[in-house]
Subunit: 349 residues, 2 copies
């Protein structure tokens, strides 16, 4: 589906399903509202899916990878070759996202959106737009056409995966250097200062952090991305995996599938998706509050309250995996618990 | 095992296992410390179990129930019959704790520590000390002997259950009215004001809350529990399930089994356990921050940082169940992830 058509298909949440879910919550054998966020979450899933008794059986995590020309500026403690190396780690099952996806019963879809290496593996979904973005301190990351193409590739990936069954989708990233474009996107869209949304990524020291802040400022000065045009922002200071993740989110919303956002980079993608279609926000669940500086600003801008706060900052979809498990638990509470009547338990005096 | 013997067997965490676990964390294919609390948690479990590669296979939730004479004072919105009714709900699998225990793959042990009804069911562990406590506004909840007996019953329950396999134990409660004795215990042990540690329990209004605060103050005035004598505190203003949970915690520590504390009532039990054997604290993991007023004070007193903050206030072990899943995930990260060497991924520059 085209971006335009996808955006057009995103509807409001189903109020009737939410009302029925709320009524059932209040009839279950527990003090009213005593399960707090779990209750609200299940009601939200009812609204997203249109099903007052939603079930989360098919769990999918889509991890999108891309490389970044800006790594030439020395913004990461890891060499850029690690992006490709980590993809093979994902495919062999040895990375954190593999462990956590197995833990929560999710399948992982690893997508090459623009890794700077020729990757051949039948387990890898190849949607490579190019061999990494250009260095954003010298000019745009990609053309306007490639920005649109990356989003539509994400839409396509989501739609193909729904055919195998998908009740929820977690969105994660891999890409050495990708906190730098994410900071640039966040600064442009939220209007916050570059310094306030630029953090240590995989673990840079104070000197490198100062350098990274200058790099982001330089990228914004050189490119002048237009705040009201999210495709322009993505083209000028984004990344292929960021565009892909935005596309996945938009398509998931169009298909009424709950979207679990991971951390800072998927958060930057969520900003792009939101600017393209504000209604997508209602389909989003923030898995966790990342340690990465700038993530808090994204959550605030999108008015999302994260489920977890475990001082994580890994990406890959690792936080999303844990978040998916909590959404699943919330839906099971709604669907599997006995009502006061069924259990023969007295209601409140 | 006697309480005395149990307390004597509680040892310090295994520093060597923790050091080995830390070293392995730093070699896994992720930026150092990027999994935050998950990394710390797995290291703590290594220290608790003495195993640098701990596995959480056998998960147990022990939910202990008791009734409270203080319900005569009108401190709850639910009639006290609900305690027994909910036990049957637990046994039939319809309560929140059943749903969440199934979700995380834990088995539930439901224990009658002192319900005010004759309960016959082979799935129920009967350790009934009495048919509910006495009204603490008129005198002690129980005798000194019964307080000791309730703790030793908890020790016994834990030890019998370890024979079926137990890698982690979550501790939960059921007992209409039991936030009232928990507030009394918390006020005595932490030294906080009654008003600061008395909350709405299952959902009382402002008028009932004022009444409940008076009830707790009256209970403390009438009984004068001795702060330095946890058995005296338990006897005068406690409950049978609270004593039982304290016993479970002490025995788990003596057996080097990680303890996941649920919310406010299990927190009050944790205070009793801690005053009996300060070393037990190192074996405790706080699952979540309960909405119930007073829980924050317990966590602060025990210097425990909760894993989750989902606005829950149900009890039963519901928060503990979710916490157990996070501990399990943390241990899987430590044991199942590939190292840089194994995966052929470059380390930091």
């Amino acid at each position: 589906m085209s971006l335009e058509e996808t955006v057009r298909r995103i509807e409001a949440l189903d109020e009737r399903a939410m009302r029925l879910a709320r009524e059932r919550q209040d009839n279950l054998t527990k003090p009213r509202r005593s399960l707090g966020s779990l209750e609200d979450l299940a009601i939200k899933i009812a609204g997203i899916t249109g099903n007052p008794l939603p079930k989360i059986t098919e769990k999918v995590i889509i991890t999108m990878a891309g490389d970044h020309g800006v790594t030439d500026e020395g913004v990461s403690v890891f060499p850029k070759e690690v992006t490709a190396q980590m993809i093979f780690n994902f495919l062999r099952g040895g990375a954190a996202i593999n462990v956590l996806a197995r833990h929560v019963g999710a399948r992982i879809v690893v997508v090459d959106m623009g890794v700077a290496a020729a990757l051949q593996d039948e387990r890898l979904v190849s949607r490579k737009i190019a061999y990494g973005t250009a260095n954003i301190t010298k000019g745009p990351a990609m053309t306007h056409e490639d920005a649109l193409r990356s989003i539509e590739a994400g839409i396509d990936v989501l739609e193909l995966e729904t055919e195998k069954g998908m009740d929820i989708v977690g969105v994660g990233d891999m890409g050495i250097g990708n906190t730098t474009p994410s900071s640039a996107i966040t600064a442009v869209i939220t209007g916050e200062a570059v310094r306030a949304v630029t953090g240590r990524g995989t673990g840079i020291d104070d000197t490198m952090l100062e350098r990274k802040i200058q790099v982001v400022e330089e990228a914004l000065r050189v490119n002048q991305p237009k705040r009201r045009d999210p495709i322009d922002v993505l083209a000028k200071v984004g990344g292929f995996e960021i565009g892909g993740m935005a596309g996945v989110m938009l398509a998931a919303a169009a298909h009424r599938i709950p979207i679990v956002i991971d951390g800072f980079i998927s958060g930057a993608a969520a900003l792009i998706a939101y600017k393209l279609a504000p209604g997508v926000k209602e389909y989003m669940i923030a898995a966790h509050r990342s340690v990465e500086r700038g993530h808090a600003g994204i959550l605030e801008y999108l008015e999302l309250t994260p489920l977890l706060d475990l001082n994580m900052r890994l990406g890959e979809g690792s936080g999303a995996a844990l978040g998916i498990s909590i959404v699943d638990a919330a839906c099971k509470i709604l669907t599997e618990m006995a009502t006061f009547g069924e259990a023969g338990v007295a209601e409140q005096l």
